[in-house]
């Protein structure tokens, strides 16, 4: 059995529990609203929705990169990897815009419980996106310098990075639904 894929699968099982906890905190305080901003009044679902589409698209480009890798089309792999990095980075820019907008209106992490749980949840997700981007960038770097050799171990590692990236996307599907869609529906 491929070791890296197994290890990453176990890791995301663990990470899923971590996010579950932060989501519970968010939902818990959503049910007991205090004074101050809420998801409905403070967030920009449309803009974040557009940036979310970029993140979801990055899962597709990652799949294309993996297909290219399996077909040993290293040039295509490189371009798809770069596209993934770019889409992920754009998503982080969207998150930065959201945060900046909130700060401008005086909504910082300690403003109220909505703000605390929102920033903690989305912040940790952003951190995971960032780590994923670093991992993909390393793979892209290897591809760019023609160091991908196509060994079994390398294929295992490549797929492991892909699994992690899809997990990060999947978590955002949940977070976006709970934080943004719940606020406007």
């Amino acid at each position: 059995m491929p070791k890296a894929k197994l290890a990453v699968s176990l890791f995301i099982l663990s990470e899923a529990n971590f996010f579950l906890l932060l989501i519970i905190a968010y939902v818990f305080y959503h049910s007991y609203p205090g004074a101050g901003p809420t998801a409905a009044t403070a967030l920009n679902p449309l803009r974040t929705g557009l940036f979310s589409i970029l993140l979801f698209a990055s899962s597709a480009t990652m799949i294309m990169a993996a297909a290219g890798y399996r077909a040993r089309a290293h040039r295509a792999t490189l371009w798809w990897l770069l596209a993934t990095v770019m889409l992920g980075a754009l998503f982080l820019c969207g998150q930065a815009l959201e945060y900046a907008g909130l700060y401008q209106r005086g909504i910082a992490v300690n403003r109220n419980l909505f703000a605390t749980t929102f920033f903690t949840l989305t912040g940790f997700h952003g951190l995971h996106v960032f780590i994923g981007l670093v991992a993909i960038a390393i793979v892209a770097g290897l591809a760019a310098t023609r160091r991908l050799v196509g060994s079994e171990r390398e294929a295992d590692a490549f797929e492991a990075v892909g699994i992690y990236w899809h997990f990060v996307d999947a978590v955002w599907v949940v977070i976006f639904s709970i934080v943004y869609l719940w606020a406007i529906l």
Binding site: A7, L10, L22, Y29, T116
Partner: protein, 555 residues
């Protein structure tokens, strides 16, 4: 494939062979060296946690004692609990698994040797970070479960709690990485022929345990991050005065904390399941039931957390759910006790020190298990939770259970690790001092709790009977100190002048005994064939190999 030896499956190539001296350890990615380093780090922190325990007992020896001021006492018991759980029991079990499991499955190393080294160094760093708090304004002082809002900056204003959060985060990440490594190792690196139904039970239980760590530690880490946001960024997730919830912390903490209890006992069960059969000269009774009950415990352990919270006033319906699950988890635990006991019957029991610790484990752990059931009986919990009866209960589980099992495992595997035997005569002194000290220290805490003494008090009024029981308990703690010193003396003597162990001094049958003691860097030259659960037994008695006997029994 009978008779044919099998080549070892390689992990990643070892790079440490090039280094010498201390660097050979610091730079090591060899599972045996890392396992030993885990155990050595445990020795350091066990000394610290032990001194803390003695300070607690000295302070409580007499009523109205003013030796330690309350805040110092609170720091000491917080550090005692945190140390013993996160820096002694968990890394000890991790170290023993990391050392033994690749050998028991016939592998040359763990699946990810470098990740293994990272786990160790992160663990050590976390421990040092925790203790650094003493030099940075004071150690954490809100107890090992740091209930909010007492753990919030408004009530615990030194930096100690922040160090506690950061240190536990490091330890949690280390444990999760270790668990992933262990699972991948056990799943992918077993020698051919060692199917999942032929795994030694210690490997089985470590596997299940690793899944528990994988699922439970992120719960702690998530809660810690929220507490950190509260402490450093002035948020109020757990402060009721600003709309937060003190109870949310308790649900989070015990969502981790109860699986954690099993994380600290399952590998101990595993060691007992190795030691008792070997020294009884027969296979474990009901292998399948022992393994399956472990899985049952693992699942149930995620459904019982709020039995730590019966006093918070959740409402009887919720209470009863957790009463039900808590009683249910007693059943698979009982199954194990009966299987270990019945394994003794029709055996030929060799009273090695290891076996004596294992036998005392059965009896002592039964006490801890039974008082545990009494806490599931909710009205009794309403009287006795947060008293010394509870302190007695979990020390019978963690000392009478885990610690005795670790001693059994250490006497069992020490010859493999060092190549030399521990002295059996000194071992007997160690054993009797441990068991008498343990009972003197902790048994008397049951009546103390029933007499109304709450836990975590730095002193107490001179009520009838309290002083004498506390004094006796303190004397017991010093007997335990003597037992530990005897054990250290035994190790020192063994390393300097112990008898040479040879490959298989106990006539045991799992794969680690098929290689030299200590094993070479690559673990095995050749691994014997595995056609059953006891490969070395099968090799020694080909006509009475387990497969044949089982087939004959069934036919």
């Amino acid at each position: 494939m009978s008779g044919l030896a099998v080549r070892v499956r390689a992990g990643e190539p070892s790079e440490a062979a090039a280094h010498r001296g201390l660097l050979a350890w610091v730079a090591s990615v060899d599972h045996k060296q890392i396992g030993i380093m885990y155990m050595l780090s445990v020795l350091l922190f066990f000394a610290l946690g032990g001194v803390e325990a003695l300070l607690i007992r000295i302070q409580l020896a007499v009523p109205n004692n003013h030796l330690l001021d309350p805040d110092t006492f609170n720091q000491i018991f917080t550090m005692h609990g945190t140390t013993m759980i996160f820096l002694v029991v968990m890394p000890m079990l991790a170290g023993m698994s990391i050392y033994a499991i690749p050998l028991m499955i016939g592998a040359r190393d763990v699946a990810f040797p470098r990740l293994n080294a990272m786990s160790f160094w992160l663990q050590l760093f976390g421990g040092i970070l925790l203790y650094f708090s003493f030099f940075a304004g004071g150690a954490p002082n809100a107890g090992w479960f740091s209930y909010a809002p007492l753990s919030e900056p408004a009530y615990s204003f030194s930096n100690g709690l922040t160090y506690w959060v950061l240190a536990l985060t490091c330890l949690g990440i280390s444990s999760i990485a270790g668990a992933i490594n262990m699972i991948v190792t056990i799943i992918t690196l077993r020698v051919p022929g060692q199917t999942i139904r032929r795994l030694p039970l210690f490997v089985w239980m470590t596997l299940v345990n690793s899944f528990l760590i994988l699922m439970a530690l992120p719960v702690l880490n998530g809660a810690l991050m929220l507490l950190l946001v509260d402490r450093l960024l002035n948020a109020h997730v757990f402060t009721p005065a600003f709309g937060g919830s003190a109870l949310l912390w308790q649900h989070y903490f015990w969502g981790f904390g109860h699986p954690e209890v099993y994380i600290m006992i399952l590998p101990a069960f595993g060691m007992i399941s190795e030691v008792i059969p070997v020294f009884s000269g027969k296979p474990i009774y009901g292998y399948g039931f022992v393994a399956a009950s472990t899985v049952a415990i693992a699942f149930l352990s995620f459904t019982v957390w709020a039995h730590h919270m019966f006093a918070v006033g959740m409402g009887h319906v919720y209470d009863l759910f957790f009463v039900f699950t808590s009683m249910a988890i007693a059943v698979p635990t009982g199954v194990k006790i009966f299987n270990w006991t019945v394994t003794l019957y029709h055996g030929r029991i060799r009273f090695t020190t290891s076996m004596m610790f294992a036998l005392s484990f059965i009896v002592m752990f039964t006490i801890g298990g039974l008082t545990g059931v009494s806490f599931a009986v909710i009205p009794i919990d309403w009287q006795l939770t947060d008293t010394y009866y509870l302190v007695a209960h979990f020390h019978y589980v963690l000392f009478g259970g885990t610690a005795l099992a670790i001693f059994a495992g250490l006497y069992y595997w020490f010859p493999k690790i060092s190549g030399r035997m521990l002295d059996e005569r000194i071992g007997r002194w160690h054993f009797w001092l441990t068991v008498s000290g343990l009972n003197l220290t902790f048994f008397l805490m049951h009546p103390l709790g029933m007499m109304g003494m709450p836990r975590r008090v730095y002193t107490y009024p001179d009520l009838p009977g309290w002083a004498i029981l506390n004094m006796l308990s303190t004397i017991g703690a010093f007997v335990l100190l003597a037992s530990v010193l005897v054990f250290l003396w035994n190790i020192y003597r063994s390393l300097t002048a112990g008898a040479i162990a040879g490959d298989n001094p106990w006539d045991a049958w799992t794969l680690e005994w098929a290689t030299s003691s200590p094993p070479p860097p690559e673990n095995f030259a050749l691994v014997p064939p595995v056609n059953g659960r006891r490969p070395l037994w099968d090799l020694k008695y080909p006509d009475r190999a387990d497969e044949r006997v089982e087939a004959a029994l069934e036919g």
